[in-house]
């Protein structure tokens, strides 16, 4: 399977899919129920009901402005960080509502990690400090910081590339390395869920392929939600795919079924490149 399959709007055949692993009937790690989100007065999500399978990769696809980024930002309460933005409805994490009264968004974010579209290592920190930044922010002192740095960087296959220059600035790395550093930084906190908001859109095809391999590997241990505008990427890395359109969830199915026999004509139109 080519990792760099060209995405073509005119492609009329459904995209062939080789799912990473057969989706076994998994438990539900997180679930959105009636989730609505606004930016000021404009509504970005119009009531989303979507369960997210435990230790599986769920891809969120859809055209620009469909609310897919807003959705994942609601899963760790990052949506409300934008001035004027708010959300209603429930999102459960292991059955507990993260929007419930008395829930601290800071504690939610320590269990639900996030990787952003643009790699954002802290520029004033070294590679090592970047990996440990989350723990430092949470006031935790790891028993063995050096081991944690190595484990985290090995998980993202960055250790061999940077082990001799851990004291260099995180921003001295290439874009793809920076993004893997950001993933390592998130993983160092041992989150239960990892949200990835178009993690490869700022990267070249080779760096993208590496991140996708990485998602394969860590997807067995973490519940991952990845937003992507690249349908081949969704097909390559995910077990489940959810298709968003205009703030609504159109279809949610195992990835192989979604890309071979979509049940909704809108989904079919989108994945065959008729719009979007």
């Amino acid at each position: 399977m080519s990792m760099m399959m060209a995405q073509s709007k005119s492609e009329s055949q459904p995209i062939p899919v080789t799912p990473p692993r057969a989706a076994v009937a998994p438990g539900i790690k997180m679930e959105a129920k009636g989730l609505k989100a606004w930016f000021g007065k404009s509504q970005a999500l119009k009531g989303i009901d979507l369960p997210l399978a435990e230790n599986q990769v769920t891809a969120i696809i859809g055209p620009s402005g469909c609310g897919k980024s807003t959705f994942v930002r609601c899963l760790n309460r990052m949506h409300e960080v934008v001035p004027g933005a708010h959300a209603t409805g429930t999102v459960t994490l292991d059955g507990a509502d993260i929007y419930g009264a008395g829930t601290d968004p800071v504690l939610v974010r320590r269990r639900v990690g996030m990787v952003f579209q643009k790699p954002n290592p802290f520029p004033t920190m070294s590679i090592r400090e970047n990996v440990l930044a989350g723990l430092r922010l949470n006031g935790r002192r790891p028993a063995d910081a050096a081991a944690l740095v190595e484990t985290s960087l090995r998980q993202v296959a960055l250790w061999d590339e940077v082990k001799d220059r851990l004291d260099r600035a995180g921003t001295s790395l290439s874009g793809g390395q920076q993004q893997r550093l950001c993933i390592a930084r998130a993983l160092a906190l041992e989150p239960e869920v990892l949200l990835m908001d178009e993690p490869c859109s700022a990267l070249d095809p080779i760096a993208t392929a590496r991140i996708e391999e990485l998602i394969h590997e860590i997807g067995q241990r973490y519940t991952i939600v990845i937003v992507t505008h690249n349908m081949q990427q969704a097909a390559r890395v995910s077990h489940y795919t959810a298709f968003f359109y205009m703030g609504e969830l159109i279809e949610h199915a195992p990835t192989d079924r979604m890309f071979t026999q979509p049940s909704n004509p809108k989904t079919e139109d989108y994945i065959t490149g008729r719009f979007g």
Binding site: V106, P123, A133
Partner: protein, 328 residues
């Protein structure tokens, strides 16, 4: 439908050979030369000002030399002048103002850029900037009629009873003096420092803040560990611009500092600054005294210029931080 080809319309759109000569950009060139002229005038005025000051202060400079900066005499009868008390007064009142104003200004800036709800940011920011628009003499009057009695009655006695053992708070205090001067200055430089710091904080890339928040940082931790380290030089620049304003401030501080030619460790003591001394004496001064005042002005100008240039460089460097939020 057949699109009309270029050939069909050739005659219509190309009536004749279009000339290559002529002057279609006259307006552009007029605007350019006009603008250059006006911009040039500013430079010429500044140069003329400096030259004039150097010329007018030459008698004092040739008489006292560099010793002018280290002498604390100010004796119009014997025509013996030195700038040290005023240098001291300017430096101490300005640093005092910074000590009072900077923590408040940073607090305001962090509140406005990071913590305040969006509906509050505009009005509060505007009010802060309005403080900068109040004329200096109004601050001075307020200083004399409100701040002076308040300082004499409440602040002075409290400081004396708690920190009276420090050399900073010795002697009688009637509400006028170095402390009151520094306080007035601090209020006047607060809006400068606060609004520039706010802009500097806003220019910090939001991805830094979001990155920290997504790692489970509290809002304060995100500011402390992700935002502030990246804007440090910009904040220093904001402080230096405030300092530049404090150094040159004249009217208000002249009205409350007491205008005594003296160097004293006590902040209760009356004092003078370079600006206040010039304002007080220029109208009656002539000959050597005028030359001495002009030399003080020159020194003040040099000091202020130095701080402003340093501040601009620091603010500019923050604006072009790698991965910076501002595109400019």
């Amino acid at each position: 439908m057949k699109r009309p080809s270029a050939h069909d319309t050739e005659v219509a759109i190309r009536p004749a050979r279009r000339p290559l000569f002529g002057d279609v950009n006259l307006g552009d060139r007029l605007a350019q030369s006009g603008g250059a002229l006006i911009a040039g005038i500013v430079v010429v005025i500044l140069a003329a000002l400096v030259l004039q000051m150097i010329q007018a202060s030459t008698p004092a400079f040739s008489k006292f030399g560099l010793g002018f900066l280290f002498s604390s005499k100010w004796d119009p009868v014997k025509d013996d002048y030195g700038a040290l008390p005023f240098l001291y007064g300017t430096v101490v009142s300005s640093i005092g103002a910074l000590i009072i104003a900077v923590p408040v200004a940073f607090g305001v800036a962090i509140f406005l850029s990071e913590l305040a709800p969006s509906w509050l940011r505009g009005p509060v920011g505007f009010t802060i900037e309005l403080l900068a628009a109040i004329p200096s003499v109004v601050y001075g009057l307020w200083g004399i009629f409100v701040l002076k009695p308040f300082m004499a009655e409440y602040v002075g006695p409290v400081l004396k009873s708690t920190l009276g053992w420090l050399p900073l708070f010795q002697g009688p205090y009637d509400g006028l003096g170095m402390l009151t001067g520094a306080l007035i200055l601090s209020i006047m430089i607060l809006p400068t420092i606060a609004s520039i710091s706010r802009d500097v904080l806003r220019a910090a890339p939001p991805t830094l803040r979001e990155g920290a928040l997504a790692l489970g940082a509290t809002r304060w931790e995100a500011i402390r560990y992700a935002v502030l380290p990246n804007v440090r030089s910009g904040l220093v620049g904001a402080v230096l611009l405030g300092l530049g304003r404090a150094l040159g401030e004249t009217m208000a501080i002249t009205m409350v500092i007491g205008n005594k030619v003296d160097i004293s460790a006590s902040l209760f003591e009356k004092s003078s600054t370079m600006a206040s001394q010039i304002a007080n004496q220029y109208s009656e001064a002539s000959d050597m005294q005028l030359a001495a005042l002009t030399e003080i002005a020159l020194v003040l100008f040099a000091v202020t210029l130095l701080f402003n240039v340093g501040a601009r460089i620091l603010v500019w460097r923050t604006g072009r931080m790698p991965g910076g939020g501002r595109s400019a």
